[in-house]
């Protein structure tokens, strides 16, 4: 069997090689066939036939040369490939012969594909890209809904119950993120790192194995704070230890405690979060080391919900099964532990659902960009379809001719689709360049943190595959329908028609609707862009509500060196005092949370006398812990009551300051001063409100007013603090001084986030908004440009077809002005229709944008009208120019030439 297989293989190799030109050429084949005939004739002659008859007999006997040649060509190479090559050659010739058509089609598609490539890359980075684990679709997130961040979180006790009772998961692991001071050895300075505290089965559940060393052992996840072992992240291992395998068994320090390195995670595995590249993993039982104030209570308190549970679906189990099973377990837990689990629902989500739930604005933004990109693609495809349609009459005759001489209709369809594909392929290549440029723009969005949290916008394999799919889809979309129509050509009708004028009406209508639709979509794109631009500009002009200039910050976390609460408190205070004594520093303050620096911590409060809706007893709000200089230093005014004082100490009555948004939510219409709330849940201590601060932006320049609670630094310990200083000169110049302040107090303490407020605000808000504005704005401009090109094409085509008619009109005395007006009027009528449809569709844009970003985006009716008017004027102007050029050409038609042209 083997030799025959080899022989067949050799045949195919020879056939493939023939494509590349390694073959006997047609002349050689034909020479052989002719020789055959000669030899046959000679033979017959030798047998006594007359020469002429011998020749004829030989030819009849041997069959036709043409047929034999055809069979030989098929055998020589791969026929379908030859056909394809022929189609491609022919297609290239067609495209080269119509450079205008080719250029406009290619550029249109390039813009459409580029916009979609960019939108996909944006969506992929922020939402879609699956985790770097085997079979990521099987991994689900489970837990209780956290009303503040809408992430699913659970307590350790609940996790254990869920893990032990659930059957629809192959395994359930739990984890918590934690930052820690990391030092490679006892005397090395610590640096800030981020890691995951994981249950012992974590790596098995997510489906990866340490590349080096071993996984955690079951017994290492049994006793709190006993087994100090750590698995390093791959990237971190390369960075910190130069990829040295001898790292196994080494002792490193996390938050000042010794940990033994037992493994290194595999390359590419960066944890279960699309943005964070975790640097270390330790058993969850080591949690008390990372959260000293909580201690072992973390493993006991059923309502201390800080864990994320992730599980891999068991073979054959469905998400719906897992969901109903968890709902049952949740109901049982609620019955068994009413104190802690009342109203807590257990949910499962897919990774994607979880990402969307955690950042709904991101999801809406992604959906909006995708819709805009789809709009641009529609306009682009409509352009190409329009161009193909305007060439259809010409091509119809060509097709009819080819059908008449015996080409199969299937071959014709293939030929035409090949041409569309060719345009799409070139368009795709250029589109990738457009997408690449957009991605470079997105890359400006960087999260300013010292931790390895990154958003990697990249033109990767997924974006590439998506772009190619879009290109092929567009090609089939614009190419298939005309191809099928062309192949259905009625032979006689097409051949008889002197020109394609008879083909008329319906196709023309289709094109008009297409161009009207293009204008409408362009209008929607532009209105969106105008709204976004105006809304963003207004918000940015309004500022974040606090000063951004002359401010320098730095964060320190002395708990990372196992300071006690009191020691840490003392450290912060000494740091602030020494900062105040430094020349160049006007004032200095301490704060737990720095506005614009990620998500603020949260606290559970129960306002006195407030009636929550049924089933809710408390509310979770964003919070910070600040000292008495904070509001002055940051420039946030206290609107009512007072700021904190040094006298608000641990011995004094507990007080808080809330922002206006929180005051309005719970004590609307009355003063919040003197009102009380319970903190840390329904049985927590009472706290009295002594001041109301202005509502500022906290996490993003475009957020809705967010309720916020401030606690005095002396009454509430914090594990880490920012030092914030107002400087008299350039703030960045004091960065070194800042570091010195810490070193003077403790050489080993890691310092993080040394940056100016200006930089932080710019990175977190200005750049992001600029990029979004630029993206949406350029989509609007692209949409308009493409629509104008489409309109120009249509009018120019109409003029070219009516040259004769216009010539007659002029010949019988129509003046050129009226011809100009007629052609222009027809074009503009179309634009007006598209404009009206577009404006109507845009009425929904305001509310949609408002729901994406914030209520401010909706704008006033007058502002909206202004935006609409602006867009309408721009579109009309562009369209008028596009229609004027061919209209003017029409008015200059020379009647004698026009009539002679036929």
């Amino acid at each position: 069997m083997m030799p025959r297989l080899l022989a067949a293989l050799r045949e195919w190799i020879a056939r493939v090689a023939a494509i590349a030109g390694r073959r006997r050429d047609d002349a050689d084949l034909e020479r052989e066939l002719r020789a055959h005939l000669e030899l046959a004739a000679e033979d017959a002659e030798r047998r006594g036939q007359p020469a002429a008859a011998a020749r004829r007999a030989a030819a009849v006997h041997a069959g036709g040369v043409a047929q034999a040649m055809e069979a030989l060509r098929d055998q020589r190479s791969l026929p379908w490939f030859d056909d394809l090559a022929r189609d491609l050659r022919y297609g290239c010739r067609m495209l080269a012969r119509n450079p205008g058509f080719t250029a406009v089609s290619v550029i249109s598609l390039a813009i459409g594909i580029g916009a979609n490539c960019a939108a996909f890359s944006f969506a992929d980075t922020l939402l879609l890209r699956p985790l770097a684990v085997p079979r990521p679709a099987e991994l689900l997130v489970a837990g209780q809904v956290n009303p503040f961040e809408d992430s699913l979180e659970s307590s350790y006790r609940d996790y254990v119950d869920i893990r032990d009772r659930s059957r629809s998961f192959e395994g359930l692991a739990a984890y918590a993120k934690s930052t820690a001071g990391f030092a490679a050895s006892v005397d090395a300075p610590a640096r800030l790192t981020i890691g995951l505290l994981v249950t012992g089965n974590f790596f098995r559940v997510v489906g990866v194995q340490p590349q080096l060393g071993r996984d955690f052992r079951p017994e290492e996840d049994q006793v709190p704070a006993r087994d100090a072992v750590v698995i390093l992240g791959h990237e971190f291992w390369l960075q910190q230890f130069g990829g040295d395998p001898a790292v196994l068994g080494r002792t490193v320090r996390l938050n000042g405690a010794d940990f033994t390195v037992v493994g290194v995670a595999p390359a590419g595995f960066t944890g279960v979060d699309q943005f964070t590249r975790f640097q270390f993993y330790t058993p969850l039982m080591m949690w008390p080391r990372f959260s000293p104030d909580a201690g072992v209570a973390l493993f006991e308190a059923r309502d201390d919900r800080r864990l994320t549970i992730t599980g891999r679906l068991a073979a054959g189990a469905t998400i719906a099964q897992a969901q109903s099973e968890l709902a049952t377990i949740g109901a049982d837990l609620e019955r068994a532990h009413p104190d802690t689990n009342r109203n807590s629902r257990l949910l499962v989500r897919t990774e994607l659902q979880n990402r969307i739930a955690q950042a709904p604005p991101v999801a809406t933004l992604v959906a909006m960009l995708a819709a805009l990109a789809a709009g641009v693609l529609f306009v682009a495809c409509a352009n190409v379809a329009g161009l193909i349609a305007s060439r259809a009459p010409m091509r119809a005759r060509e097709m009819a001719m080819r059908l008449a001489i015996g080409a199969g209709r299937g071959r014709l369809v293939r030929q035409l689709v090949t041409e569309s594909l060719l345009v799409a392929i070139i368009g795709c290549a250029l589109g990738l360049a457009v997408g690449g440029a957009a991605i470079a723009l997105f890359r400006q969005i960087q999260i300013p943190v010292d931790l390895p949290i990154t958003t990697v916008f990249a033109l990767d394999r997924r974006a590439l595959a998506f772009s190619i799919a879009v290109a092929i889809g567009s090609a089939v979309l614009v190419g298939l329908a005309p191809a099928v129509r062309a192949a259905r050509t009625d032979l006689t009708a097409a051949m008889k028609a002197t020109d394609a004028a008879g083909h008329g009406g319906r196709r023309q209508w289709g094109r008009r609707v297409l161009v009207g639709g293009q204008v409408a979509v362009a209008v929607v794109l532009l209105v969106m862009a105008a709204f976004v631009y105006r809304g963003f500009a207004r918000e940015l002009r309004g500022g974040p509500g606090f000063a951004t200039d002359h401010l320098l910050m730095m964060s320190v976390a002395p708990k990372q060196l196992r300071y006690s609460d009191a020691q840490a408190q003392q450290f912060f205070e000494r740091l602030a005092v020494s900062a105040r004594g430094t020349p160049g520093i006007v004032s200095a303050a301490l704060t737990r949370y720095m506005p614009m620096d990620g998500l603020p911590p949260s606290t559970t409060i129960v306002p006195e006398g407030f009636q929550f809706p049924r089933g809710q007893e408390s509310a979770v709000h964003a919070t910070s812990i600040v000292d008495e200089h904070y509001f002055d230093t940051l420039g946030v005014p206290i609107l009512q009551g007072r700021a904190f004082r040094a006298a608000d100490s641990i011995a004094a009555p507990r007080v808080a300051i809330v922002n206006e948004a929180l005051a309005n939510r719970y004590w609307s219409g009355q003063s919040a001063i003197g009102k009380r709330f319970r903190v840390d849940g329904a049985r927590g201590p009472w706290v009295e409100i002594v001041g109301v601060a202005r509502t500022t932006k906290y996490t993003f320049a475009l957020e809705n007013p967010k309720p916020f609670v401030y606690f005095p630094f002396r009454q509430r310990p914090a594990e880490s603090m920012f030092l914030l200083a107002r400087t008299s000169g350039e703030p960045a110049s004091l960065a070194a001084v800042f570091r010195e302040l810490v070193r003077a107090l403790d050489v080993n303490l890691p310092i993080a986030n040394v940056r100016t407020m200006e930089e932080l605000y710019r990175m977190r808000s200005v750049v992001v908004l600029d990029v979004i504005t630029a993206t949406i704005g350029s989509m609007g401009v692209m949409g308009l440009t493409l629509a104008v090109v489409g309109l120009y094409g249509l009018v120019a085509y109409a003029v070219s077809r009516r040259t004769k008619e216009i010539g007659i009109r002029i010949a019988i005395g129509a003046d050129r002005g009226s011809v100009l007006r007629m052609v222009l009027g027809q074009g503009l009528l179309l634009v007006a229709a598209g404009l009206a449809a577009g404006l109507l569709a845009s009425l929904g844009a305001g509310p949609l944008l408002a729901s994406t970003f914030m209520s401010g985006m909706e704008g006033t009716a007058r502002a909206n009208a202004a935006a609409f008017a602006l867009v309408a004027a721009a579109v009309l102007m562009a369209a008028a120019i596009a229609a004027y050029i061919p209209a003017r050409r029409a008015s200059l038609v020379n009647p004698t030439e026009a009539l002679r042209a036929e």
């Binding site: 050799r10 056939r15 052989e32 055959h36 046959a40 041997a62 055809e70 069979a71 055998q75 020589r76």
Partner: protein, 117 residues
């Protein structure tokens, strides 16, 4: 294009036996041109087997692509240019295998047909 399909199906039917016949002819008579092969087959079959060029030459090309025969231009005894085909070592091996297979097949067929008769 439809005639391409017809030629193809006819060729397929003949392919297996044609290969065997061509290889056998070249093995016994030595290097031959296409017409000589056709003439030989016609003569041996007493005129029953008349190959036209559309069947013969693609078959030869296929055998050549498979490395079982090798073709090259040469002159006949009457000084005409023709493409001569010679069997290769691989061709001889293939011929032996095919012959054995053919013999086995005919034995089976004979046994079957006689049994029925």
């Amino acid at each position: 294009m439809p005639n391409r399909d017809k030629a193809r199906s006819k060729a397929d039917v003949l392919q297996g036996t044609l290969d065997l016949m061509v290889l056998q002819t070249l093995a016994t008579l030595g290097s031959q041109h296409g017409y000589a092969i056709a003439a030989r087959l016609e003569q041996v079959s007493s005129g029953a087997l008349r190959l036209n060029m559309g069947t013969l030459y693609p078959g030869l090309m296929r055998l050549e692509q498979r490395g079982l025969i090798r073709g090259s231009w040469d002159v006949t005894e009457n000084n005409r240019k023709a493409r001569f085909y010679a069997i290769t070592a691989a061709g001889r091996r293939e011929l032996e295998a095919e012959k054995a297979e053919w013999a086995r097949m005919t034995t089976i067929m004979q046994a079957l047909l006689q049994d029925e008769g």
